[in-house]
């Protein structure tokens, strides 16, 4: 049964006018299928227009609306309000932890994007590109499933204690992307990538706290990707050699007819 009313506790902070963050309570009457994002919209439309938060797609694909609800990083647009209300009908919404707050629930994610660019998230093709297409086996494609559907929402990044405690750690989102590129049979720079990832900011800085898995709204597994990268980084030259061979065989496939 839907409770008659819900209390939304939101952390507010505008660095221009406030000394420190404070909490505001808003009461509203949710429908059975009101999401947390809907509730925020209701507050912004009906109670306080100055409440600020990021959102765009409203169906868990743009990654704008990651917030910390009751201590967990989630996408508020895909979470029903009923699921997060406690038995007194209250819920606490805070901005993503460990990131500088711009205003209310909006955080500054520049470090997130810097680390993302650092792993060169794009494909680096080999010198001799096949005339028609790269041939990739179904097994090679399924191996990438774990990393492909990342929407870059930042939930894992800001759930990671290592991000909170140290500067410069590449972070689960970027390492997952690096995993995608290292494993991609069309990419030609795996040894180079692995050399950077094996540095002091890279895969070995992960303390296997698993918060990234808990936080991921897309059920991806950055920790497993990091473990795989660790193993590959130890034998990166052999790995690169096997990849070059694989690429040759991709370009001159044995034609069976």
């Amino acid at each position: 049964m839907a409770p008659v009313s819900a209390t939304i506790r939101v952390q507010r902070f505008n660095p221009d006018t406030d000394d420190k963050p404070y909490y505001d309570n808003f009461d509203l009457t949710p429908e059975r299928d009101t999401t947390v994002l809907d509730a925020l919209h209701m507050i912004k439309a009906e109670q306080d227009g100055s409440l600020t938060f990021r959102r765009s797609c409203r169906h868990a694909i743009c990654g704008s609306c990651a917030m910390n609800v009751n201590g967990h990083n989630i996408l508020v647009c895909k979470t029903p309000l009923q699921d997060v209300l406690n038995k007194n009908g209250r819920v606490t919404i805070r901005p993503l932890p460990y990131l500088p707050v711009i205003k209310d629930l909006v955080v500054d994610r520049s470090s997130f994007w810097e680390q993302y660019l650092r792993v060169k998230p794009w494909l680096i093709p080999p010198e001799d590109i096949p005339e028609k297409e790269f041939r990739v086996s179904p097994e090679e494609v399924t191996a990438l499933n774990n990393a492909e559907t990342c929407i870059m929402c930042g939930a894992c990044y800001s759930a990671c204690q290592v991000i909170g405690l140290t500067k410069g750690y590449i972070g689960p989102h970027a390492l997952l992307k690096a995993f995608l590129r290292v494993k991609d049979p069309r990419d030609a720079a795996s040894a180079e990538r692995l050399a950077d990832l094996a540095g002091s900011d890279g895969v070995y800085r992960c303390h296997t706290i698993f918060n990234c898995i808990d936080a991921c709204p897309k059920d991806l597994n950055p920790t497993q990707a990091i473990e795989t990268l660790r193993k590959l980084a130890q034998k990166r030259l052999a790995y690169e050699r096997s990849r070059v061979q694989r690429q040759r065989s991709l370009q001159n496939p044995i034609v069976v007819d």
């Binding site: 505008n14 100055s50 600020t52």
Partner: protein
């Protein structure tokens, strides 16, 4: 209402609404002129596609009295990919 000078999403929404209005005017003006049906542009009074007269882009310029329209030809590789009607 949000009156702050920092990440003001209310102001953003207001600006975006004005843009939405501008662009809806452009879309309606262009659609009224284009006397055919093509893709998502579907008219009951002109249900057929008309490549002879309308295989061209519509360009709109902002003026004081609303959008003014002009046209630009579409680049088509007639040899390799002659245009065809899409049928379902």
């Amino acid at each position: 209402m949000d009156k702050s000078h920092r990440f003001n999403t209310d102001l953003l929404a207001a600006i975006e609404t004005a843009h939405l209005l501008d662009f809806s005017e452009v879309i309606v003006a262009g659609a009224l002129e284009r006397k055919e049906s093509r893709g998502a542009h579907a008219r009951t009074d002109f249900p057929k596609r008309d490549d002879e007269n309308w295989l061209k882009h519509t360009l709109a310029k902002k003026t004081d009295v609303g959008p003014s329209l002009s046209y630009k030809p579409v680049y088509v590789d007639w040899e390799r990919y002659p245009p065809q009607e899409r049928k379902y």
